[in-house]
Amino acid sequence: MCVAVPGIVTRVLDEDSAEIEIGGAHATVSTVLLHRAVLPGDYLLAHAGYAIACIDTEQAERTLALWDQVNEHPV
């Protein structure tokens, strides 16, 4: 069960947990497995009640731009 879902931090509850929004639903996740404190607006990857990674949204935008450039002609 390696399903993990991205969510955006809506509220930092304490130094070890945050509330995130996943597709309109709100959930509390533990942030103890992350290397840094989280802030509202951060994208996190949630798995089994824990945030397991911070999502690099700038990297995501660069990836999409690169692939749009590679396949630039709509068919």
Partner: protein, 365 residues
């Protein structure tokens, strides 16, 4: 920017498929004189590839073969029986939902629950820990890979620091790179490329897969949205065409070079890798996580003296499916004696199981 919708954009996915992936797939099949064989290691990829129709669209040129990346599926029949025996001991067994219906030799956790034994479904080990905190004796049956192991280890550390005596874990936690090395080194199956599991890689990083490079085939770490999978396939096919081996990170927004150091340290504090059996793959050195000596009081198998013994899977060929030897319809039970409502093996039970994915999306596999 809504990340998920951008990576699910059908127009973008179609452009990548039609302009990038299909032409590359045609070229590699022409070059090889046969279909290229790509193993999608992760069960979540198996489902996504079936559901989106990618498997069917590429079927003339690329054979996408399922791998060992469904944790419930690689759990041995003996482990399933051990979990059932825990429930019979009177302890409350907490489990993720996909283990509930996996058949053991004469029962399942679902059947034990129907018989009045205490089996609860949780979506996080934290829920099992909370039950134990309220005074219930709880054994969490942990089937999972590197993605799940840190969450279990963090709960064990919480139980230790909070002196929560009633919490224990039956560990079926496993490691993916040793299993992949075992498959590749056996040479039993011809594999031209690997689609690597993005959420395992989120924890262990790109470099943890570099041991696979010795096998001389390309591998790409992939995310799980359609655009992620298609771009990873394009990278993989391009690498196959140019004869490049090595491991590429196609899921850069989540996966880093060295992974999540905090998560890996947490796992290392509580567990150590040992040799153990996998369904379909046999014993693999250093592939399963067992408690370190200072944490053995949280080991459910030890606490309740539950033995894990070898049991034959019978006619079920899940082991051959998840090691890439056959595709699901090649099993004589598939769709006949074995269907999702009456599964004979874990691959037909789990939401990530290859047999369930092939059965559920017949028109597109």
């Amino acid at each position: 920017m809504n990340i998920q919708s951008e990576f699910r954009d059908p127009d973008r996915a179609f452009r990548i498929l039609s302009q990038g992936v299909i032409p590359a797939a045609e070229r590699i099949a022409g070059h090889l004189g046969r279909r290229a064989v790509i193993m999608e290691v992760c069960g979540t990829h198996t489902v996504a590839i079936s559901r989106t129709g990618i498997r069917a669209v590429l079927g003339d040129w690329v054979e996408l073969r399922s791998g060992p990346g469904c944790p419930v599926c690689v759990t041995t029949p003996g482990e399933v029986d051990a979990m059932i025996n825990l429930a019979r001991e009177g302890v409350t067994v907490a489990t993720f939902a996909d283990m509930l219906r996996v058949p053991g030799s004469d029962s399942s956790l679902e059947l034990e629950r129907a018989r009045g034994n205490r089996v609860v479904v949780v979506s996080s080990p934290l829920q099992a820990l909370a039950l134990a905190e309220r005074g219930t004796e709880v054994a969490f049956v942990a089937a999972g890979f590197e993605t799940t192991a840190p969450t279990v280890a963090a709960c064990v550390l919480d139980a230790m620091s909070g002196d929560i005596a009633g919490f224990s874990v039956y560990s079926s936690l496993r490691l993916i790179p040793p299993a992949l090395n075992a498959i590749l080194e056996s040479g039993e199956i011809r594999i031209d490329g690997l689609l690597l599991p993005g959420h395992v890689a989120a924890i262990i990083g790109r470099q943890a897969f570099c041991s696979l490079a010795g096998c001389g085939i390309p591998a790409v770490i992939a995310g799980f949205e359609p655009v992620d999978i298609l771009t990873a396939l394009q990278c993989l096919l391009d690498r196959m065409l140019s004869g490049q081996s090595g491991v590429e990170n196609g899921y850069g927004r989540v996966v880093t070079e060295n992974g999540n150091a905090v998560a890996m340290r947490t796992v290392d504090q509580v567990f150590r890798p040992v040799s153990a059996g996998w369904r379909g793959l046999g014993d693999i050195a250093g592939s399963t996580l067992s408690f370190r000596s200072e944490f053995t009081r949280f080991d459910a198998a030890r606490r309740f003296a539950i033995e894990t013994v070898w049991i034959s899977p019978g006619a079920c060929r899940c082991g051959d499916v998840l090691s890439g030897r056959i595709d699901p319809p090649s099993c004589a039970l598939f769709g006949r004696g074995c269907v999702p409502d009456h599964p004979r093996g874990p691959c037909m039970v789990s939401s990530e199981g290859a047999c369930a994915a092939w059965y559920r999306y017949p028109a597109v596999t």
